[in-house]
């Protein structure tokens, strides 16, 4: 086993191990928002590791470029889809994605400034 094959094996091993752990994380977590956190490592780290492995093992430039495009898409798309899913989960449970009048959300609370909600509890 030469150096290139060993490097590819290590990179793929880490990528697959990460995917396995994150898949188990998605399975065992209770809250859907917590489950969502486990998609990101696979879509970013594993994808990058596989891309580096492709470049190390393959001399075909065309295939390598396509894998780079796939990795870029996964990284970009994952954030958008995760945000949309989290938003859907909140709307499903709370009725609206915006915080309710008395709801304590530290990050939102600090940045919100004065209360601008109307009698219905929503912004005009």
């Amino acid at each position: 086993m030469n150096g290139h094959v060993l490097a590819v094996a290590v990179l793929l091993g880490v990528a697959v191990l990460l995917a396995l752990l994150c898949a188990v994380g998605v399975l065992v977590m209770e809250n859907p928002l917590r489950k969502l956190n486990y998609i990101a490592p696979v879509a970013t780290l594993s994808a990058v590791l596989v891309t580096v492995a492709v470049f190390l093992s393959d001399a075909q430039k065309q295939a390598g470029l396509k894998v780079v495009v796939i990795t870029f898409l996964l990284c970009l798309i994952n954030g958008v889809v995760t945000h949309a899913t989290a938003r859907a989960a909140r709307i499903r449970t709370q009725g609206d994605w915006r915080p309710a009048p008395g709801e304590q959300l530290p990050l939102v609370q600090d940045r919100a400034g004065p209360d601008r909600t109307n009698a219905n509890g929503r912004e005009p």
């Binding site: 994808a47 894998v67 859907a88």
Partner: protein, 84 residues
């Protein structure tokens, strides 16, 4: 080298089992998360298979799956907000 890529593909195939279990139980949003995770893993799986069998067309499949996973996730999330 083919063995390394096939072993990685097998590992990724195993990672689909927890995703399938997530899709089979729980609330609809949790099932959607399992589906999104499965789409990402399948994309990487197709890349590994393309390298293992030295078929460049499989990489196009992975590219298509990555793009379709985006639309799929957004449409399901939109419908799960209120209608499903």
């Amino acid at each position: 080298m083919t063995t390394v890529w096939l072993t990685a593909a097998l590992g990724l195939l195993l990672a689909l089992v927890p995703c399938a279990l997530t899709c089979l139980r729980g609330k609809p949003i949790e099932r959607l998360v399992g589906l999104e995770m499965a789409a990402v893993i399948q994309t990487l799986l197709l890349v590994c298979l393309a390298e293992a069998f030295e078929r460049a067309t499989f990489i196009d499949l992975a590219l298509a799956l990555g793009l379709l996973g985006f639309g799929n996730g957004l449409v399901f999330a939109r419908f799960l907000e209120r209608w499903l």
